[in-house]
């Protein structure tokens, strides 16, 4: 996925390129430098060290040559055949940057191709360069202290796809990926002796990583002096001015309000209102569902099977109708809006702007990316916490996502219900959820050991989003989402159907009565909604939506139910993702923490609303 934000790609994507026969292209997350500092960068380091790569293509920013070349030098030292694509050449041109790319290639022994990928410029040339690329012959000479250590280490290293020299340099710089690789490919005593050597060097207080860095930097400086004909200094484009305003403490808030309002209008009013109205009421309610029901009644004579398909808990009438008519328009509009924000480069500015709030939560502004994405899909956002540097931050953000960030599907249902009551209902709901988010976030930050990491983030220039880019990304996210949602909706409906037919549902409703009716003050049938809330909380919310439509809930009950279901665990898929990324114990811990907390807050709110006499 291409995006104007470092950190959109957090996993490796593999695909075929028609121009490169029999080859598989591996797209890895972006890297600033090695050793990697976050989990997504680790993914890239692992690919380089572990996989049998034929060639490497580095896609770098042409207008920031120094930064691009810092990585190129490291890649060239690895000895894999490589080509450097000096990308965003169009932007470099418009800023008056002029480069001599040929001399760069000669100095490092690699092919250097200027490209502007969004316009397809230079791509053919890049592909042909990759096919003929040979191993670069770059050999940087480090200070004596480094070289003597390298000479001692290199003979003891295991075979790897990258050069022994670069493996040794990585390991000396404290890189975790090379460490794992060496541990896995050496006998224990061999690795221990290497480790002892490294420790004795560190005890001598020789700053080897620093010396390595200085040598590389000096080489990069030389290259930059050679290749940059015009730095384009003093350029002041409109995007720079808007970028400045978007981060400004006063104007930035105004721009944020405008952005939020646009998203609200596009996703909330247009997606959840207009589109859902057309699809659910007109298309499904008026045309498709009556037709399907008619066909089923005509051709299927077994009542149980007919009921399974088009009954109250029918796979078509409930599962598919929810998934396609209610949820799909909301997530589609959200992902489009998110894609535009991502492509425009606004998100890193939001990270800078929101840094203060996240400091309060023991985090830094970078956490805004998974949090905003969580408003689209919490499962996807849990995966994206990989962009955060420390395990502690990933854990904190995962908790907040699971507890208090409603995904777009749920948000759509919740907003639809609350908007039908009054503005104060919406304010109570959002106020309580925000309060819980801040309180639990603040508390968790103080309980989870470790220090807060300070913000350090690159801010790419603001650009006009490329529509084709946004559409492709939205489609990819929708495919991911549908594959996850539709089966769950069908399984959820099936479970409800079975529970209903076997009268277990009635039993569960009775069992849950003290909690649901006594504590939360809801009708006993709401137990069923919370039960399916275990599958997906938006599914649970939809169940409550139906209850409200039948006139079973008063305003206070709607607000209590919505707060409880919002604070509920997101969905089965997100729990699986938490388990995958953070481990089963963490996932189990979160479930054990979140479910009682959701009911506790819901019940307290019920008492509070009863006390002040709101909506009863």
């Amino acid at each position: 996925m291409i995006s104007n934000y470092p950190g959109t790609t957090v996993e490796v994507a593999r695909g075929k390129v028609s121009a490169l026969q029999n080859a598989i292209l591996v797209d890895t997350p972006g890297v600033v430098t090695f050793p990697p500092r976050s989990e997504d960068e680790l993914v890239t380091a692992r690919v380089l060290i572990n996989e049998p790569l034929k060639a490497v293509i580095q896609v770098g920013d042409a207008k920031n040559l120094r930064r691009t070349l810092s990585l190129t030098v490291q890649l060239a030292e690895m000895g894999l055949p490589m080509a450097l694509s000096l990308n965003m050449m169009d932007e470099a041109d418009s800023r008056g940057v002029r480069l001599d790319h040929n001399c760069l290639g000669e100095a490092m022994g690699i092919s250097v191709v200027p490209t502007a990928a969004v316009h397809g410029r230079g791509i053919k040339e890049l592909i042909s360069c990759v096919q003929t690329a040979s191993a670069p012959a770059l050999l940087l000479e480090y200070p004596y202290a480094v070289e003597s250590v390298l000479q001692r280490i290199i003979p003891q290293l295991p075979q790897a796809s990258i050069s022994p020299r670069s493996l040794a340099l990585l390991w000396l710089s404290g890189d975790p990926v090379s460490e794992t690789y060496m541990k896995g490919h050496l006998r224990q005593e061999e690795y221990q002796s290497l480790l002892a050597m490294r420790e004795s060097i560190l005890e001598e207080a020789l700053d080897l990583p620093g010396q390595i860095q200085v040598t590389r930097q000096a080489f990069v400086d030389k290259l930059v002096n050679l290749a940059v004909l015009d730095t384009g200094e003093g350029w002041k484009g409109i995007s720079k001015k808007i970028g400045y305003l978007a981060t400004h403490p006063v104007w930035g808030i105004g721009i944020l309000a405008l952005v939020l309002y646009s998203i609200y209008w596009f996703v909330g009013v247009f997606g959840a209102g207009t589109l859902v109205g057309i699809l659910e009421e007109n298309l499904f309610g008026g045309v498709i569902n009556p037709w399907v029901t008619g066909m089923v009644e005509k051709y299927i004579s077994i009542p149980l099977v007919a009921d399974l398909l088009v009954g109250e808990y029918g796979i078509w009438t409930m599962g598919m109708t929810y998934a396609i008519a209610l949820i799909l328009p909301i997530v589609t509009t959200f992902f489009l809006a998110f894609g535009i924000m991502e492509d425009s480069g606004y998100l890193p500015r939001l990270a800078a702007l929101s840094n203060r709030i996240f400091r309060f939560l023991g985090l830094n502004g970078k956490a805004v990316l998974p949090m905003v994405l969580g408003l689209g899909c919490v499962t996807m956002a849990t995966l994206t916490t990989r962009v955060l540097e420390k395990k502690r931050e990933r854990l904190l953000v995962t908790l907040l996502l699971a507890l208090a960030v409603p995904c777009s599907a749920q948000l759509g249902v919740v907003m639809g219900m609350l908007a039908g009551i009054s503005l104060s209902a919406t304010l109570i709901w959002s106020g309580v959820v925000m309060l819980i988010l801040l309180a639990i976030g603040w508390l968790a930050a103080r309980l989870v050991p470790g220090e807060r990491t300070q913000l350090l983030v690159e801010m790419p220039p603001l650009r006009m989003p490329v529509i084709s880019n946004v559409v492709v990304k939205t489609l990819a996210r929708l495919e991911w989402y549908l594959k996850e949602v539709v089966p769950l909706f069908i399984v959820g409906t099936l479970i409800l159907f079975v529970l209903d037919k076997t009268a277990i549902l009635d039993w569960i409703i009775r069992i849950g009565e003290p909690l649901v009716s006594g504590w939360l003050g809801l009708p006993a049938q709401a137990s069923a909604a919370f039960l399916i809330g275990f599958m997906r909380r938006d599914f649970g919310a939809t169940g409550l939506f139906l209850m409200e439509a039948q006139g079973l809930l008063n305003p206070a009950q709607v607000v209590v139910a919505m707060v409880t279901i919002t604070l509920f665990i997101p969905c089965v898929a997100s729990i699986m993702m938490i388990a995958k990324e953070r481990g089963w114990r963490t996932a189990a811990g979160m479930v054990v923490l979140i479910i009682p907390l959701a009911f506790l807050i819901g019940g307290l709110l019920n008492k509070a609303l009863l006390f002040i006499g709101w909506g009863v």
Binding site: P249, L456, M459
Partner: protein
Amino acid sequence: MAFFGLFTPHRTPAVSTPVSSGVRNTHNLAAVCPGEKAKVTGFSKSITPERRMQLQAYGINPGTWVTVSMHSPVTVLQIEHLEIALETEMARGIEVEG
């Protein structure tokens, strides 16, 4: 006309070219006024080696000229065509002159 800074995204730097005469003013990046330029001279102890490597990867190296565009809500720097946002505490650990 500095109405919330709207019309002055980048004030004319007080020092637009490297200082070549007089006593050089040594301080840290957090003390550089928005719109002004400074030359990085080194890093203080508060910057961990790991952080220093990241900063250097972004091109914040001794000898490099950087332009500060703001300090609030965070410090924003410009190095050639690259914009970096960092917390002001971190900027305090970057030693500069000029």
